[in-house]
Symmetry: C2
Subunit: 394 residues, 2 copies
Amino acid sequence: MHTHLAASSVLSHRARASQSSVIRELLKLTEQPGILSLAGGLPNVDLLPAGKITEVAEAVLSASASSALQYSPTEGLGDLRSAVATRYQCDVGEVRITTGSQQGLDLIGRVCLDPGDVAVVEAPSYLGALQAFGACGAEIVAVEGDQDGLRTGSLGSQLAAGLRPKLVYVVSNFANPTGSTLSWERRVELATLADRYGFLIVEDDPYGEIRWSGEALAPMRTLTENCVTLGSASKILAPGLRVGWCIGPSWCLDAMTRLKQATDLHTSSLDQSILCGLLDDRVFVDGHVAKVIARYRGQAAIFSTALRELLGDQVSFADPQGGMFLWLTALDGSGSTRIFEAALSNRVAVVPGTAFGSGARCEQSVRVCFATLNEADLLTAAQRLAQAWPQSRP
Amino acid sequence: MHTHLAASSVLSHRARASQSSVIRELLKLTEQPGILSLAGGLPNVDLLPAGKITEVAEAVLSASASSALQYSPTEGLGDLRSAVATRYQCDVGEVRITTGSQQGLDLIGRVCLDPGDVAVVEAPSYLGALQAFGACGAEIVAVEGDQDGLRTGSLGSQLAAGLRPKLVYVVSNFANPTGSTLSWERRVELATLADRYGFLIVEDDPYGEIRWSGEALAPMRTLTENCVTLGSASKILAPGLRVGWCIGPSWCLDAMTRLKQATDLHTSSLDQSILCGLLDDRVFVDGHVAKVIARYRGQAAIFSTALRELLGDQVSFADPQGGMFLWLTALDGSGSTRIFEAALSNRVAVVPGTAFGSGARCEQSVRVCFATLNEADLLTAAQRLAQAWPQSRP
């Protein structure tokens, strides 16, 4: 006779705590047929370099099948680590490969955060980071941000008043969800605070290369050794490959590697070999990134022009200098969840700001991604959003 | 001015606890040039189906680049879940894809085990499971096993005496490290105990298809619903793809999927698409598995014959009916670590039994893998091991 376990008898506290996610349930609705989705952070499929990847895959499988298909070192294939070190100007010893940069967040969280430890994030922040740090039982303290990123002055005051985080998480360029870039002055101040108070800066930078105006700022890791920078092939090449990297001090990276061994042994050897083949062709990668930049710049211009024409003074947002997102803030009292719901009834999907944190900045805003849809669909989506907006007023 | 963090100021208790691993340091020695390694659990590179994978990769990248290179669902590609369900005779709703079955162990551990919870393993057991459950802060209770797998009678007594594990972990077929297969009687008894005491059976089965004699036994999941079975493409196709799967009840799998989203978002879309293409070609996969079986059967026969001739009554081991491992137990008082060291000085690498647990069964044994090396190297390795053995006597 079979007795079925009650889930509650075996599930850990962590698993039980994560059982209901309103956001996750909401976002499932955005995948219905007929919906134009601005909700995902998905690259435009036209920009996935399938031809080049096919060519590189054939080359690595014929030249070194045993390294592309066999078990490989937990820290990542040596050739790929070298290719990353070359492109991002660091020492190969500072590089470890992860299964997407999401795994970097999971591993950093687990090697730094004991239950109850404090992790500081910007309000609002990337949902995947909140999930990863939350799964460690960390207390997540959100410090307000603005168009120049995390308010380091506010963080400084809280540190002076006794806040002692183990880590501070920032998406330094074209942040998810707000699109804002941490200013140079704040980078310097954040680095100084890390050195003074002894916390680790986790600098997540998947969008930094997708810049079409303004000056690129040096990564935080050049300002302090108390920093791990996460990079990813997902936004510039292909997210399906699931390859990311961490650049940082060995005391942290070595602990991450030990844990990674218990987590997935290593990142796909085939995907690493393919990425290595792509990065080794510098002319291709630079050309492809230029193509991504040109495409998203064009899409951003068309979409934001349409929104300004159609929504006028009902909404506020900054003209993007790069990345994939606009952060639309209602000036007419519309609430985040109501905009989401009204948009969905008009067959366009956005992400309510409340998915990324709490507070006024989240409750009056939604995130839209201009990268995924082509121009014609972006225009239709802007029209649907403009129809929806008045329906979301209080 | 830079201040470097002391690792101890930021690392979590978990990370600090894992800083020194004697085993990991020892095993690095086995990778030196000139060493014939029987230490890894690596498939023979001749059996990695590079040609077929190239063909399938081209096909999926040309037919559906957007699904092979784009973000994909956390639970796994629907077509791959269906292919797994078909091959392993279960419902598609019972299948989730993981980044190798090592990730299955990590996720199951984290959704079931709070710090201090009990996880039962067989003594000795797979090192990666010990690491994954240990990383959750679980108390790992090792129950003695023998040539028929975990001693369920002993487990039953301990349960009757009050032991209350959240999960019991077994490698049900041709176990790593002992090569033993859980007998039918013990499968039935273990299922009964799971139903009675309310724990989850974690059945890890990467080797089950590699059987060349004896009768295949039904998986534990057919005997109780309180079971998650982990499968893997690593041993029958290619470990570098890093694709595994879990088959089990939705209360557990859904919790794993929620956690997986924070862990790596999803498993490589490209690797999943390739595996799906391989599994869809049933004739190819069955033929390839037959080739793996024939090859390992031959290698096992040659290697074990050589060992019996050269080491005679100094060592005891069972003739394998499948899998990749022999568990060599010293009959002459030689200790596990001393055999390892003597073997290494004779340029052959084995894994000391103490890597897999404690107790007499581990302290007098070493694990050797007959899958990796070709026949000539296996004979040389057997000779080197035979030279080393007398040097390891107390």
